[in-house]
Amino acid sequence: MDLNYTSEELDFQQEIRGFFAEKLPESLSAKVKSKKRLTKADCETWHAILNDAGYLNAHWPEAFGGKSWNAIQRDIFDVEGSAFGAPRVVPFGVNMLAPVLMAFGSEQQQQHYLPRILDGTDWWCQGYSEPGSGSDLASLKMSAVREGDHYVLNGQKTWTTLGQYANWIFCLVRTAKEGKPQQGISFILVDMDTPGVEVRPIILLEGTHEVNEVWFTDVKVPVENLVGEENKGWTYAKYLLAHERSGIAGVGDALAGIEHLKHIARDQKTDGRPLAEDPLFSARLAEIEIDLSAMRTTNMRIMQAAADGAPPGPEVSMLKIKGTVLRQSINDLTRRALGPYAMPFVSEALDVGFNEEPIGPDYANPVSADYFNHRKTSIYGGSNEIQRNIISKMMMGL
């Protein structure tokens, strides 16, 4: 064991810092740091910058044009990026679909879709959940019926994150009704411009449009859009979920959140002294830092155990739970740090172009909305209850 960075790792860290310092546009980092809403164009701009630098897919295996970054390199990139205020990469194409295509897609699919993911031609969204199938994903009903060289799709997906920006959706569909539900699922790629696809917004509890319903009425999809084999989709679906969860610890985000919270706590006063000096507040903050320090190492240990390009095992469920709960507790403590100024919320102030004076301190407006919005993290990506079921079943044999 050696907790010191090697000289290569130190060089790597310098390289990454140089990249963020030079290439991350001030306009983007300012938005991220002040928690303004990012537009579609913002996400695309950052995506392109990362791609130009070869960092967008650096975690992909070298065989597919990546750099096969290991867990330490990923951690450095994540932590430095968050510290600089880099936007989060929209994960559906580059972190979720791509690994599935590399492992199970045809060569033709790989050659067609992977470059389009990288150059931003396609914005992917995730068509897993249905109104009746959330935690019990395998019970999904949306049907795909083979007719000649097409599948005809009917049904509904829901909670589709950023579906309003996407032009492609990967869907789990039912291609057989016999046997176990898991055995009749297929994984299929759908161009959202196909007639019969309709996207309807769902507004979240704090007023944002982040997720959607996607309806499918007699949507004709060419058979070559099927990934892997018919009725084998469940295997691919789980492989994708493991990749989805692998970035989920959110170490960089948590570290940046704590820095932001400390900044607020130095500014807020209680009994005439900075909140940061308040013993109760400090104790709560210290507990979060203790958990985070351990989690950063847990994250690297678990990610290091995964082979190049392969997803981590069921251990990743521990990261999902710890990572989401930890960031939720940072959101919670940040809310409390504001005192009465946690209450005002002017939604328009989250958009660029809002020029009125802030209400209260300039950091206050997004905090409570963020706290409520982040309740989603323990629900999506497989709820934390489902993660506990996985840990107790798969890791402990209970």
Binding site: S139, I203, L205, K269, G339, V346, K376
Partner: protein, 373 residues
């Protein structure tokens, strides 16, 4: 001891409860909240006519209630409907106006629903402190001149009058030297910036620039402001805690109903023990909160008031938040939507932590006050 309400008080609770059930579904609530003033003047008028405002005040002041239990039962029912009408502002301002017989006319207008009065006390730097007041009052030939900034004034943009705390003497945190002044909201030099709160209510930042008021604007004795504020603050703390209890009841009921009807893996999700135990804990915490409301209501006018209020408010911050978060979690994605009501209940429960001192503020106060006698 007797843990039953008197018949009259039970009737009051039932009456408010019925009004809320019959007239105040979540859609009309959102509709009222989104209107210019942030509430429905019609509903406010109806509730005033039913005597719901009057129930918050003593007979001597023109009301017919005014005990801790009256306040608690009314606000618990209001919390069940997430009622946005300006009851909290009315309770606090009214509690202060009631201390000065010269203000009876305005208090009567408030009780009848004709007038909305907001208490403008908190300031940008005061957090939860009651004595931290920078706003100044200086004596003039025919009254006073006010200068300063007031923060997060509940219902401040829809009130016709604001009750302003200001300092005639002393340093910023002194307990002495505070007085209260009643100011028409449209007086020269009063600048009101209204805005919504994240849980659907309205508040305002109020700037006072050389606001000239007559000597009859002084409410209560000069320099005795803190005592009046303390009364209003206590009533407000009890009220929002009872309101949180009402919201908690609904959030738990909705979650329970959802657990019985939502099916995954071929069974209602309520069959999963992982959820059953947490539901059981939520129910237990709800009863703990109900007991704390009873304790605080019963001690609103005793010398143990502050201890019981702080116990209650700490529990609301601590267990209330837990319940609010669990209600969302156990619903899954459904609770994250604007359309489904439970998220709005959760938002209110958590935001009540930011009124009159949060969980930690009251924990510290309990540590200072020591054990109850």
């Amino acid at each position: 001891m007797d843990f039953n309400h008197t018949d009259e008080r039970q009737m009051l609770a039932d009456m408010v409860g019925r009004f809320v059930t019959d007239n105040y579904d979540i859609e009309s609530r959102h509709h009222h909240a989104a209107s210019d003033v942030g509430y429905s003047q019609e509903v406010w008028g109806q509730l005033a006519e039913l005597g719901v405002i009057g129930a918050l005040f003593d007979e001597a002041d023109g009301g017919f209630g005014g005990t801790g239990f009256d306040i608690a039962v009314v606000f618990e029912q209001l919390g069940r409907g997430l009622v946005v009408e300006p009851f909290l502002a009315g309770l606090m301002a009214g509690t202060i106006l009631a201390q000065d017989k010269n203000q009876q006319e305005l208090l009567d207008a408030l009780l009848s629903g004709q007038s909305v009065v907001a208490l403008a006390h908190g300031e940008p730097g005061s957090r939860y402190s009651l004595s931290h007041v920078e706003t100044s009052a200086t004596a003039s030939a025919d009254g006073f001149v006010l200068n300063g900034n007031k923060a997060v004034v509940i219902s401040g943009d829809s009130a016709d009058h604001v009750l302003v705390s200001a300092r005639l003497s002393g340093a910023v945190d002194d307990a002495e030297g505070l007085s209260l002044f009643i100011v028409p909201r449209d007086a020269d030099g009063v600048h009101v910036r209204g805005y919504p709160t994240v849980d659907g209510y309205r508040a305002a930042e109020i700037a006072l620039h050389d606001v000239h008021i007559g000597s009859d604007s002084l409410v209560g004795e000069q320099g005795n402001g803190l005592a009046l504020l303390d009364k209003a603050n206590a009533a407000g703390t009890l009220a929002v805690s009872a309101e949180a209890l009402g919201a908690i009841e609904v959030a738990i009921d909705m979650t329970l109903e959802y657990l019985k009807t939502r099916k995954q893996f071929g069974v209602p999700i309520g069959k999963f023990q992982a959820l059953q135990h947490r539901m059981a804990d939520m129910m237990t915490e709800r009863e703990q909160i109900r007991s704390a409301v009873i304790n605080a209501a019963g001690h609103l006018h005793t010398d143990q008031r502050d201890w019981h209020l702080s116990c209650l408010k700490n529990l609301i911050g601590r267990s209330g938040r837990k319940i609010a978060e669990e209600a969302i979690q156990m619903h899954g994605g459904m609770a994250m939507t604007w359309e489904y009501a439970v998220g709005h209940y959760s938002k209110r429960i958590v935001m009540i932590d930011h009124l009159f001192g949060d969980e930690d503020y009251h924990l510290k106060r309990i540590m200072t006050l020591g054990s109850a006698a």
